[in-house]
Subunit: 327 residues, 2 copies
């Protein structure tokens, strides 16, 4: 069914050439997945080791050169097939090659199914800073095929689940009440309706504010601290998944929401209790905390040295709040 949508798109747009930028692990697991396209267009695979450190300009230049050599034109299609890293690199290539070619995202992780594949943000890292280079470039289609979740390592389910918690907290109290009852996180306990709910909520926000000037920033709940944690780990050459960092970020930003905002203490405790059931807490030294505070000040949301935090007013409702850097 999902494949038919993609086939229809390729045929109806008379697309001649397709490049599938993919995670090499995914391609090995599903070598025949895109066979159906080969009957209607020339299909190339560009396989990448989908590590965070490869989300850089070198990977993008590699993609550009490939498309140039294969004589891709404005009616060619780039498909991203993998998780958020693949989505980000493919999006940047598609947005900038000939000032934009067709883009379709086929996310294979829970995280990319509910987040990275939608909304048109792409990004690569520069030096220590995540996603600091990128564009807004909406995909023509996003094909969400939950079959991919079956072979996804469980830590990847946990990785995406943190974003699911975020969506519930900032915009969907009913979803939060359903999530709260979960006792185990794996692909069987993920209700596909939750995925649809998360996507629907995100796209409503994106339609209002594609360029992330105001309301879209509430999708960054948990990410101001989350990105700072990822940067701290990167500088110490230690690994941490995006979802894990975001889960921790949600804890800290819920704390701020209680301490500086109006979030009732009971809600903060509920959130903390729920998250720490699945995600082990991190220990930070005093100098770590001071570094994290500095990194929060470098966030893309900030303007003129005013730090923007997303604050929970209550479960299911978030607002943007500004602080000067010393407060």
């Amino acid at each position: 069914m999902k494949k038919i949508q993609l086939l229809d798109f390729v045929v109806s747009h008379q697309i001649n050439k397709i490049a599938i930028l993919c995670d090499e692990k995914v391609w090995k697991l599903y070598p025949d997945y895109f066979n159906f396209l080969q009957e209607v267009a020339t299909v190339h695979f560009i396989s990448i080791d989908a590590k965070e450190k490869n989300k850089d300009i070198e990977s993008v230049v590699f993609g550009w050169n490939f498309l140039l050599e294969q004589k891709f034109d404005r009616n060619s299609l780039m498909i991203s097939w993998g998780g958020g890293t693949i989505c980000d690199i493919a999006g940047m290539i598609a947005a900038t090659f000939m000032r934009g070619i067709w883009l379709v995202n086929v996310p294979t992780t829970l995280l990319s199914m509910i987040d990275a594949a939608h909304g048109g943000k792409n990004g690569i890292n520069l030096k220590y800073q995540k996603n600091v280079i990128g564009t807004f470039y909406l995909p023509e289609k996003v094909i969400v095929d939950t079959e991919f979740l079956k072979k996804l390592p469980n830590k990847e389910i946990l990785n995406g689940f943190a974003e699911m918690i975020k969506y519930a907290l900032i915009g969907n109290k009913t979803l939060w009440n359903e999530l709260k009852n979960i006792t185990e996180i794996n692909y069987k306990t993920i209700n596909p309706n939750w995925i649809d709910d998360a996507i629907e909520f995100k796209m409503k926000i994106v339609e209002k504010d594609l360029h992330d000037n105001e309301i879209r920033q509430i999708l960054n709940f948990g990410h101001t601290v989350g990105h700072a944690i990822e940067r701290l780990f990167a500088e110490k050459k230690r690994n941490i998944s995006h979802g894990y960092a975001v889960a921790m970020g949600i804890c800290y930003e819920s704390y701020i929401s209680w301490k500086k905002g109006n979030l009732p203490m009971k809600c903060y405790k509920d959130i903390l209790h729920f998250i720490l059931r699945f995600y082990k807490p991190l220990n930070f030294t005093k100098s770590d905390i001071s570094a994290l505070a500095n990194y929060c000040c470098d966030d893309k949301k900030n303007k003129n040295e005013i730090v923007r935090f997303i604050i929970l007013e209550e479960i299911g409702k978030a607002t943007i709040t500004e602080y000067t850097q010393n407060s």
Copy 2:
């Protein structure tokens, strides 16, 4: 007057940091030009040798790193100050740093005043192909200050004049009739009204089709062959200005307009006669001609191996025509 517009913009948007990407030659000629900004914001100059060969990803990465080190944020401003090359590099940096910061163009050449600075196309070269990487990203303002033309070398006036001829031919018969009477090309003979007319015409087209899917392509009249000539020269390590190549391109594409379309022979001869009065004709070997034909097939306008040419129907009116590659 022009400066006040820019100052107003910076103050009213509370812009904190400004990077001026400039042609090193222009900065030497007008070292104090931007002094008025230094009172209201932190101003940095990034000076570049504005050669075609520097219009590459290395220059863009250099700019990104500079902005990152200086802690630029989404409320910072990039100003391009120079000709088309500077416009293109600065536009690409501004469009992609933090997914877009403010951009103001201050063109200093006739070519960039009437063309490159307007309409939001930016681009860098990849290997042999001009402008194959880029985005659509509209500048917030374009400050056209014709004072800069006074110190511009005359070959640069000629360079821009070719685009002026193009605008007249595709959209403004009255302008063509005025241009035809010119006996000499230098900054004194360029009527500032012509500059305004050219910009107005371009912006009307851009408003209808920012993303260059249909009508905007008529602005490429003279450029299908013009870009092919530039590529031929680049591969032979010979220099040719963009305007010179476009002037020649206009001659060839006017010929095609007569031969394959409906342009009366008298119009074609008028165009040829006028252009060759100021631009010396180029001699091509048989193998050059064959290379040029191939390069025309790589143009960004083409889709599915169909070559798009812009054809003059009459003086002041152009249309898009498609040919299969063998015709």
